[in-house]
């Protein structure tokens, strides 16, 4: 890859953005200068406006209907909308970035839009795929790539455009530990070749720390909280930054203290369980586990191993492919012992589920209503409903968003809301798929404390997760799946 592509610089002068429909400014009074070739880690509490800033730099925030702008944001002295091709953006959701059906075509897409001549496109495609280490044939179907591979594909697609500024918005958030390393190595290799400017968002500082030379921390109320070399910023101001939600490795969030020990009173058990999605082969089989009051089972393992499928099966949403899931009388409480046969109304008071994608679960048009659905269905009295909802709103830092539409929340806010909908209902068993995804250290700590509190009160939890901190803070048992051992039915 030619290193002749000049790196791009960024200037923000009093820049701010307010999403339409919101009173508060997502970002305001931002004054920063990022020099060409700098590698910046962008930090800030969940909802501080990191994604908003990065989308603005990529020129995809939209026009006046989408929101209101203040001040000036420039890339090499030009507006982001006029700098197409100078900036490349990789977002956190691997699935929403795949554009075309074949790997080669997908990488070529950006070049085509920029009017690159055909022969040169294919040279660039080959170079980019090589740089990110994605060695599959050009006509390989994109839908058959793993999460980590899809992220590297997105990176290659951006790279082929020869950008001077690379923007990565939590590019590894959905990935297993191997996928995280894969993507980080790919980015490192790319930067060594192109020397482009980098702005990467990631709550977990340690993933990128060795690669960046500057940390900028956005303050939730506007402006910048801290700015400087990673070790200087995280070292000298570490304690105060940690208190405001920044994930400083030296000041980890406090692990919850369990008051009551797990018991042996069983709630849910499986016998010879095999799990499968409808219409596909068995993903995992021979699972024998049991879940008792106060226990938290962590399910870990690589992408695609069938962890979420196990979660949905335990939650009474998918039928077992073989074997059985049995609810103990303490949980079933007068109805049959097969959760899959329970009515929806019977299920949600006993087993609550948080889905991997929060958007599948939202039912209401405001955050407050979303939280009230469960308690209302339990026929609680209004003061009790309000009490539960208000407590969750405050503890999970959603109170200013009570009237917002769930779909417009930031990534981390959506996750907290979807977990909170289950917490509001307080079922005996909770099945949570990546509950701590996208959280800053403060919301993480609060979320984990809430979960620990419920465990103490006699609930039990199944958490599907890549989050090692969550496992060590909460799990009483861990089930690790190895790569999918496909048993074709």
């Amino acid at each position: 890859m030619s290193s002749s592509i000049p790196a791009a610089g960024v200037t923000a002068r009093g820049w701010g953005w307010r999403h339409s429909g919101r009173k508060a400014w997502a970002v305001s009074d931002l004054d920063v200068r990022i020099e060409p070739g700098e590698r910046v880690l962008l930090l800030g509490a969940s909802g501080a406006g990191k994604s908003t800033l990065v989308h603005a730099l990529a020129g995809v925030l939209g026009g006046e209907e989408e929101g209101e702008q203040r001040g000036e944001l420039l890339i090499d002295g030009r507006r982001p909308e006029d700098s197409r091709g100078r900036v490349g953006l990789v977002m956190q959701d691997p699935d929403s970035q795949v554009i075309l059906a074949r790997v080669g075509d997908d990488v070529a897409f950006g070049c085509e839009n920029l009017g690159v001549p055909r022969e040169e496109i294919w040279t660039r495609v080959a170079e980019s795929l090589d740089a990110v280490g994605l060695r599959v044939p050009l006509d390989h179907p994109t839908e058959q790539l793993s999460g980590g591979q899809k992220q590297r594909l997105a990176l290659a697609g951006v790279l082929a455009m020869h950008p001077g500024l690379l923007l990565l918005d939590e590019p590894t958030a959905n990935l297993d530990p191997d996928g995280v390393v894969e993507v980080r190595e790919a980015v490192a290799r790319v930067l060594d070749r192109t020397h482009a400017t980098l702005v990467v968002i990631e709550h977990r500082v340690e993933v990128w720390r060795s690669l960046v030379d500057r940390v900028i921390i956005l303050a939730p109320g506007g402006g910048v909280l801290a700015d400087g070399a990673p070790d200087a910023v995280l070292g000298t101001q570490g304690a105060s930054l940690a208190a405001s939600g920044v994930w400083v490795p030296e000041f980890p969030p406090a692990a919850p203290i369990r008051v009551t020990a797990p018991t042996s009173e069983r709630l849910l058990a499986t016998e010879g369980l095999s799990v499968a999605r409808s219409g596909s082969g068995v993903l995992q089989s021979g699972i024998d586990l049991s879940l008792a009051v106060g226990e938290a089972l962590a399910v870990t393992g690589p992408n695609g191993a069938g962890k979420s499928t196990l979660g949905l099966t335990l939650a009474g949403l998918l039928a077992p492919a073989a074997g059985r899931v049995a609810a103990a009388p303490r949980l079933a409480n007068g109805i049959g012992s097969h959760p899959i046969r329970w009515k929806s109304r019977e299920l949600f008071t006993r087993i609550g589920t948080v889905f991997q994608d929060p958007e599948h679960q939202f039912l209401a048009s405001t955050v407050r209503d979303e939280l009230a659905i469960g308690p209302r269905a339990l026929r609680l009295v209004q003061p009790e409903i309000d009490a539960r909802v208000d407590e969750l709103l405050t503890r999970l830092r959603l109170e200013t968003l009570a009237a917002a539409n769930p779909f417009t929340l930031s990534g981390g806010e959506k996750r907290r809301l979807s977990v909170a909908t289950v917490l509001a209902t307080r079922p005996r068993v909770m099945v949570l798929d990546e509950p701590t995804f996208g959280q800053d250290s403060r919301t993480w700590q609060e979320l984990v404390a809430l979960l620990a509190g419920l465990l103490d009160e006699g609930c039990s939890i199944v958490a599907v997760t890549h989050d090692a901190e969550l496992v060590s803070a909460l799990a009483t048992t861990t089930l690790r799946f190895d790569s999918r051992t496909e048993v074709t039915a």
Partner: protein, 260 residues
């Protein structure tokens, strides 16, 4: 989703420009819709059937993929048989149904017509890859790139619909709202799917925009979409079949102009 996936292969037919595969059956359809009689469709069908087995599908795939046409054709015929314009001797009459000499011959003509138009259409089209079709529509037919690529990207989303629908169903059961009446449940879930699809489409549009889609620059195409003599041969075959079918019909006195 395998039913939607293009059939891939290495024979000549797979390399032909999708626009030719689109044009040939369209030409044929245009001609066969001028007249409604059993001769023209039979002749076309007879000539086509020689070519079907060279279409790179294989026997099993051929029957599998064309099954809908085989089902649709007699149904169309049956409808015409019962409700078509009556003439001549009437064999059966009940309310609006009337089976007569006229409606019988119309029914036969219709059934054959659906086969003669539907089969080559399906056979040629199942080997078309959507990406190649988009290339052809933009480079050969010169439709606007924005429109063609938007459609192509949206097509990928359709595949996600099924997964989303399934997930929504589970998510609603988990939240305790899945016991309501079938109809209400379906309606509210359909609305949720609609909202979700818009979200997906918006995200995809953002991803495309972030890669320079819609920039005021003359777009280039990474893939060529050649339209050469092979393509013309296919189009000519379509035209020839149409011409023979119509000639035989006129000469044998079966011409029955559709608007007549």
């Amino acid at each position: 989703m395998s039913a939607f996936q293009p059939v891939r292969g290495i024979s000549a037919i797979h390399r032909l420009n999708p626009i030719a595969k689109l044009a040939a059956p369209l030409l044929l359809a245009g001609a066969l819709l001028l007249t409604i009689d059993w001769v023209s469709a039979s002749v076309a069908l007879a000539l086509e059937s020689v070519l079907f087995f060279r279409a790179g599908l294989g026997l099993r795939r051929f029957w599998l993929r064309t099954l809908p046409v085989w089902i649709a054709a007699p149904f169309a015929g049956l409808t015409i048989l019962l409700y078509g314009r009556a003439s001549g001797h009437s064999y059966f009459h009940w309310v609006f149904m009337n089976v007569s000499d006229g409606s019988i011959s119309l029914a036969v003509a219709t059934t054959l017509r659906v086969l003669a138009i539907g089969l080559p259409g399906v056979v040629l089209f199942v080997t078309v890859d959507p990406t190649d079709l988009a290339d052809g529509l933009a480079q050969v037919v010169r439709l606007p790139a924005r429109f063609v690529l938007g459609g192509l990207a949206a097509l990928r989303l359709v595949g996600l619909f099924l997964d989303d629908w399934r997930s929504l169903e589970l998510a609603r059961r988990a939240r305790g709202v899945a016991d309501r009446g079938r109809l209400r449940r379906f309606a509210s879930q359909a609305f949720a799917l609609f909202v979700l699809s818009i979200r997906r489409a918006t995200k995809l549009a953002t991803a495309m925009e972030a890669r320079g889609f819609g920039a005021p620059i003359q777009r280039t195409w990474a893939r060529d979409s050649p339209f050469g003599w092979r393509e013309w041969v296919l189009v000519l075959i379509g035209a020839a079949i149409a011409a023979v079918a119509l000639t035989v019909t006129i000469v044998s006195g079966h011409w029955n102009f559709i608007a007549g």
